[in-house]
Symmetry: C2
Subunit: 282 residues, 2 copies
């Protein structure tokens, strides 16, 4: 992928110039199969472009202080420029307390409330933009989709995707409507949109008749669905009924293979950007 | 007004119990007539309910450090529980540098990016919610308007009103669309909304045919318009063409007299809440 080779080139340049490479720390709590897969993909991507990566695995029943301590260690480690806590955490852990422990300058996921606030506020710039929404915009731009002045619908209000995606689309001057569980007639609202970003986590929620002919459809849904026919015993299902929507949309991202790889690429970007900023390298 | 007498009662209780009252500091830079009026109204409201108020006036050509120093003094002053910088600032002053100097615990306007981030993020609570959007929600609730599941349109994307209003309406589970200068057919989108919050600052932007019959219309626009017939030489004009909209809407707020007094009431609320939190008084 073009983005990855650009990142790899910059990493080589940094290594040559400074004798240092960007470093990413990943913290994985528990044994969720899908989380393990995501972390593995991120680590492999780091290796591919020459970014150093460290993984700390913690047991499901660990205390919030254990996660915080792992974060603190990476906060202090000058060879680490990005820290990522793989979500979701086990239910008993307070996500707020965990995420707020990540120092702002290494918050490559962009989930710290100060980064989120600066993403929301006009005229300000967050240090990091969350990877998945950033990848959605990148996909739209690369596909030649105009965003400014277009009607966009974001389905889902998660802090990880729905919220930052709506803020980012607004930054690009789309007219954004956010759809959620309480929305009446979501199909009618969606069918008026030029751009649909779906991140509800409900397989086959978005049917072909929800899509305006020619719309751009970004499917962020990745719900693990049991499937004995698959290698891991499950497969990832998107929000969009692909076979129906592909007949109506101008562009549509498949699941898996659409947003996922772009999210990983944006994580590499954010980690590189962080290292450049911290090491004063341009 | 009912809210004010409740606040006054609580302030008296605090004075009796602790020998202390809430304190609000207002910083006014420059000579804008409308800003002077707003500040005067806020100070008068404080006096009415027994909140102590201090005003620091700075000349238009002051430096950003002058404003920051004034803020710092109030940050340290234990008799002050809320600090408010009257916006807009003169063009040459960096709003970001000024607002970020207000300590989080005294940010009664709720404009600090950490407060805004925590307003945006689901499952978190900001220390303060911006006064005008908070007043809009209060007006809707007091008028018996259901918000959950309703279509809401916010016209305008300002950091002070449009952005936090859209975030707050989403918190109340409305389906929110944000309209701005790049939006195509704003009248058509607005005409489908059950709730319209207009904060564009464009007099008479919203005409009667923009309003769905029975919709609730909150007009936040307060644009000073020259009017030699008025005492100060100007009057405040809303965004909504009142005479037309009043025939279609179920409720509509007038300008002046609608959102303005409610904004002031919410500022008193936020200042009282801050004092209660800092003085550990419930």
């Amino acid at each position: 992928m073009e983005i990855r080779s650009k990142i790899a080139a910059k990493v080589r340049q940094m290594k040559k110039g400074l004798g240092k490479v960007p470093g990413l720390a990943v913290i994985l709590v528990g044994q969720r199969r899908d989380s393990q897969t995501y972390v593995r993909n991120k680590i492999m991507a780091c290796e591919e472009v020459g970014i150093k990566s460290l993984v700390t695995e913690l047991p499901t029943d660990c205390a919030v202080t254990d996660v915080q301590n792992a974060i603190m260690r990476f906060n202090k480690d000058p060879s680490i420029h990005g820290i990522l806590v793989q979500l979701p955490l086990p239910q008993h852990l307070d996500e707020e307390k965990v995420l707020d422990a990540v120092c702002l300058e290494k918050d490559v996921d962009g989930f710290h409330p100060l980064n989120m606030g600066n993403l929301a506020i006009r005229g300000r710039e967050p240090l990091f933009t969350p990877c998945t929404p950033k990848g959605c915009i990148e996909l739209l731009i690369r596909s030649g989709v105009e965003i400014m002045g277009k009607k966009a619908v974001v389905i889902g209000t998660s802090n990880i995707v729905g919220l930052p995606a709506s803020l980012l689309l607004q930054r690009h001057h789309a007219t954004v409507t956010v759809i959620h569980a309480f929305t009446q007639n979501p199909e009618q609202i969606t069918s008026e949109a030029d751009i649909v970003v779906s991140a509800a986590g409900v397989p086959n929620l978005v049917r072909g008749n929800w899509i305006k002919p020619g719309a751009a459809v970004i499917d962020v849904g990745t719900t693990p669905v049991e499937d004995p026919g698959c290698e891991d015993g499950y497969r990832l299902a998107g929000d969009v009924c692909y076979e129906e929507a592909v007949k109506v949309a101008s562009i549509i991202t498949p699941v898996p293979g659409g947003v996922g790889p772009m999210t990983v690429a944006m994580l590499l970007c954010n980690t590189l950007d962080s290292a450049k900023r911290m090491l004063n390298f341009s």
